[in-house]
Symmetry: C2
């Protein structure tokens, strides 16, 4: 983990960069550097490097196929970013951009390889230097983020960047178990990961609702357990190559002993229950569990792990281990007898026994086991990596016990939290801040987790991006890079750049609105969509019943997890409530509210025409009402008009009602209007 020793240096450098940034020198309007993750050290120079059709790249130093291919992809992406035909060939001389690679990377990408790079841009030349191909790949992405259009054409500002990550494990977990995610989804998200310098794709490949990999050892896994949707081994190879080319490790997860219904359909002999099992259509924590007491279970798993550890070259192998409800164990007399005979007090002890056995199998296949929080027991071997989903306390406990750990608690991007919320979660925050330096060194980083109960290939990009870019920054940049305004400013630019990588988080909404409404130009629905969000956390499942068969084609599925319009309106409302808004900001806020108020009359008549939009009628009406209250509050504030306590309370009551989810959607304008109403009472 060579990168760690540099950390203190980075912190200092980044502090300088952030300081400059917050003083507006880098502010977007003034030709800033909208980089994400923010590099360790940035020094801006004079002038800019122009990009035209003569642009080419020369490779120097160590010859590496990954650098050659990465450079070609870089040129192709640059072509998309600029629309300039750029030959996708590297040139030996006369190139304006020189790439110098110090030496090789490991044949199989390893945790802790050097990922640093140095990028020097002057008006005349670009020089990218790194110790190995990984750093080169990262530096190329930094350059692409710097490209902007100017009065002289496309250009990159003169800059000197020295960069290296804070944490060596920066991951995105994709759950292909619940909703299968076809190869194009995986590949374009790997492109997005490369763009944001993430380096681990954790591939959640089995769960109750689906087993997603072709096994030749145990073919009934996919034949009976996938509903026909699984990755062939050739496709797995393709993805691993695709990821490696982008500096990304692929860590597979086969979740066991629970979350295993899909295994048990084809292999009921592994089960603790009587069976037969079917692929469940329900979500949630199900009872199905492997039987930890039979030797045949481990014989099966040993063969299976032998096959899968050979298929996936990464040194780490994730075996899940989360959320056992233990009901099948409780109900099985043979298992109860086994526990008694072996002095196991409870199901945790039984699971611990299972984890220990599996760990030995995994180690026998020369892999390092990973598991979710639950696998940690006092006797867990020290090399097992604990993946913390339940919170910072568990993470700190594992680190204290001597195990290496990863954080995902706080990075659950399926829960529709804001970018800011994820951004401010630090792997060394909470109890982690109290760790000793030695213990802190065991914190490898974290992973954004894209659980897929309520996403499909159509909208999954929107749940991952752009918010995962801020988690990528958290894991790459210095600990004190925490300016939320700067983050949102840069995120907007990076989000648009991710379009060049084929991601669909910006383009998915309109086609879904067209489909659900049957309208070619669903303008009114767009206005409604701008104000609402899916409920946060696990509230959605409580509002409506969802199964694997539920169409996810309604407004809640078509809007991003975080409403940009509502967030920006909230910024205005805060300023107005504090008496700090400019006239332009007042007008902007009023403009939004007028738009939301007047939309209902135009939209409402068409909503009943579709089964999918009919349920939006009350929501649209409510938004208009909220906006009307907001406009009244603005007017009261503007005119310093005294508002009676009763009138205010009545409005606050109405807002309270409007804050409740309708059609499984939350009106995110409500809190801002509440702020205005409250402010109007203080004058």
């Amino acid at each position: 983990m060579s990168s760690r020793s540099f950390r203190s240096v980075f912190v200092v450098c980044v502090a300088v960069a952030v300081c400059l940034f917050s003083h507006g020198i880098f502010a977007q309007e003034q030709g800033s550097l909208p980089l994400m993750p923010l590099p360790a050290h940035v020094t801006q120079g004079e002038g800019q490097f122009l990009i035209d059709g003569t642009f080419s790249v020369a490779l120097e130093g160590y010859k590496d196929e990954r650098v050659v291919q990465g450079s070609k992809r870089f040129l192709a992406t640059l072509g998309r970013e600029t629309g300039i035909p750029i030959a996708a060939e590297t040139a030996a001389d006369k190139a304006g951009f020189t790439i110098k690679t110090g030496g090789p990377s490991d044949a199989v990408q390893q945790l802790g390889e050097d990922e640093g790079y140095r990028l020097e841009v002057t008006a005349a030349h670009v020089q990218l230097t790194a110790a190995d191909p990984l750093g080169i790949l990262h530096g190329l992405q930094t350059f692409l983020q710097l490209v902007r259009v100017t009065p002289q054409g496309f250009a990159v500002p003169a800059v000197s960047i020295i960069d290296q990550p804070r944490f060596p494990w920066r991951g995105l977990m994709i759950d292909a178990g619940r909703h299968f995610m076809p190869l194009p989804v995986i590949e374009r998200n790997l492109d997005g990961m490369e763009a944001t310098k993430l380096n681990v794709m954790h591939w959640h490949l089995s769960d109750d609702q689906g087993f997603r990999v072709e096994s030749r050892q145990a073919p009934l896994l996919q034949e009976e357990g996938s509903g026909g949707s699984y990755y062939t081994q050739a496709q797995i190879h393709e993805v691993i190559e695709y990821a490696r080319a982008r500096g990304i490790r692929v860590v597979p997860e086969f979740d066991m002993p629970c979350h295993t219904s899909s295994w048990l359909v084809g292999y009921p002999q592994l089960a603790s229950g009587a069976g037969p099992y079917q692929l469940p259509t329900k979500w949630g924590v199900l009872d199905a569990a492997m039987d930890p007491t039979r030797e045949t279970t481990y014989e099966f798993l040993d063969k299976f792990l032998g096959e899968m550890t050979a298929l996936f070259p990464d040194a780490y192998f994730h075996v899940g281990g989360d959320e056992c409800d233990g009901k099948e164990w409780d109900a099985n007399p043979r298992i109860q007898a086994f526990m008694k005979a072996h002095g196991m007090k409870d199901n945790a002890a039984l699971q611990s026994y299972f984890s220990g056995r599996v760990q030995k199998l995994v180690a026998g296949h020369h892999k390092i086991m990973m598991g979710w929080d639950e696998v940690l027991q006092p006797d867990t071997p020290r090399d097992v990596v604990i993946h913390s989903w339940r919170g910072p306390t568990g993470l700190a406990a594992a680190a204290r016990q001597g195990n290496r750990v990863l954080l995902s608690n706080g990075y659950y991007i399926d829960l529709n939290q804001s970018a800011a919320e994820h951004y401010l979660v630090d792997p060394l925050g909470g109890d982690g801040a109290n760790l000793t330096a030695e213990e802190k060194a065991r914190v490898l980083g974290g992973e954004a987790t894209m659980w897929s109960e309520l996403v499909t290939p159509e909208n999954v990009d929107s749940r991952i991006w752009p918010r995962t870019a801020v988690i990528a920054e958290r894991l790459w940049s210095a600990e004190d890079v925490r300016d939320v305004d700067s983050m949102y400013r840069r995120l907007a630019v990076v989000s648009q750049k991710l379009d060049y990588y084929g991601l669909e988080h910006n383009s998915f909404t309109l086609p879904m609105l067209q489909r659900m409404s049957g309208e070619l130009d669903p303008k009114g629905l767009e206005v409604l969509a701008s104000a609402v969000q899916p409920p946060e956390g696990y509230e959605r499942e409580g509002l409506r019943e969802y199964t694997t068969l539920s169409p996810l084609n309604r407004l809640v599925d078509a809007v991003p997890p975080e409403s940009d319009a509502a967030r920006k309106f909230n910024e205005l409302a805060v300023l107005i409530a504090a008496g700090k808004a400019s006239e332009e900001q007042w007008q902007k806020a009023q403009g939004w509210l007028v738009r939301w108020r007047d939309n209902d009359a135009k939209l409402e008549p068409s909503l009943a025409g579709s089964e999918l939009t009919a349920e939006l009628i009350p929501l649209s009406h409510s938004l208009a009402q909220v906006a009307t209250i907001g406009l009244q509050a603005l007017d009261d504030l503007k005119n310093h008009r005294a508002v009676s306590a009763e009138a205010r309370e009545k409005n606050l009551e109405l807002l309270k009602a409007a804050a409740k989810p309708q059609a499984v959607l939350v009106d995110k304008v409500v809190p801002s209007v509440e702020l205005l109403v409250k402010a109007s009472g203080r004058q």
Copy 2:
């Protein structure tokens, strides 16, 4: 050509359908059938067939792999159209949709195979019947076009359709020679072709600027002649399979003896000039020509044609033959001597000799030769198919001479003409209308031609779609299906449906505007874009110099060939000028004009920030001025105010100036405003 004998029946049926349509029974607002191409016979029934998660398809009759795969793709497309998870497996029983295939198609798809089908939809069941798999594939697409969202959910209206094409050859030519078009471009356009029942992809695979196929016989063709951008033989196989699965033949074209610079780079011994040759960066008619006088030319071609006729299984083989300027022949004394010795009066005679030799080579490899107009000579064998690009007169002449013919004149979709213009061009229009029945039977159909000098993979979809759908209708539907209003109404729906096939004609504009402006939300640029179009015909090349190296990343490249907003505004202007507009239409027209007028003040300040948009400043200003004139005219008309002749003339002068292209763009609002100004003078 079994389909031809049914033509008279279709004409009658379609006349009924069109008649119903024009009376509004099928009007979009009233639950119409937005089908394109319009089927031969449509009878609407009562009720609708609901589509939900239980939807499945059962296959009956002849078992055919193309039907199995086509049904799976159909289910996947239906899933995208509805957002409902539909299992992509066909079910034997209990299916709501039964497909009955009469018998097999030919192993290699042939010209004139039966493409008819019968689709019966009731509230309870769907039955699709066809004599062979081709008809089934077409019928599935008809069903997909019928899907709409209703208060009961997604549904298809009860309907009985009997359908069959008018012409057996309905093609789209894609020029991959000028700008290389990567496989995804080809494949998504094949999907669009399937959706609109086109059945021939004519693949223009070589031209001066690039030779695009891997030849193993003559590898310098691609090694020296492609700049690295060519299709491998494996990719050719993939495309042919992909097309065949969709009921589409692939006819390759290798253009010779001219348009051959790219061949001559690697094989200068084929040339009439002295060489050496380089890949030209210029567009247009170049001088490079093969040497028709040397036996070695034919020896080379015989081997090459042997390889390529084996690679492409279709019975037809296109050898181009267009646009020889003859300069290299004139300048070569040896060629001149040859011509004299053989009594050849002119270069046409020399080319005729070449065509005759090549025809024998093609025939020797058991293929039927096709060529552009120029290959037709009095002694051209009767089985050669003439591809008419120069006009209906040449087409009729070929048919009279006994050759079969295809029309592309009028279908040049690279020339930015309106959908209506293409729509009204008929293969049997012009001189073709004077042909005898026997001669008319030689008119096989036509092809939309996507020449690629001024398109890239990024915007090529927008030049092909949606306009090619109206050419598809011209070639499939009855001759008297010519209602332009109905066409535009249905086209809007079909255009949106093409999004489900992955086509980018609706989504390409915004990313290009973002890129050229550097703005995340380029609203002002969108308003400007809504009013302008690329110049029609070949005017663009006269306004600016373009080479193979020119970036195609400006506004002219980012707007569709036909402005929907300007077209709709024109409809309003026509009504207003005729005194037939409703109050709502007046307001709508005024709304557009206000938007265009007020846009300049908001947009102008940002345009100078980018080299790519700076040139738009005068255009934006001019649009505002045009809109101001339009608003004045509206106001004059509304108030029946007399307008002085001088004032009117002054405005017409200004409009005349504004009608001239600026920044290689045409302001399409000008003619409508001119109409209003002229009308204001008549009162």
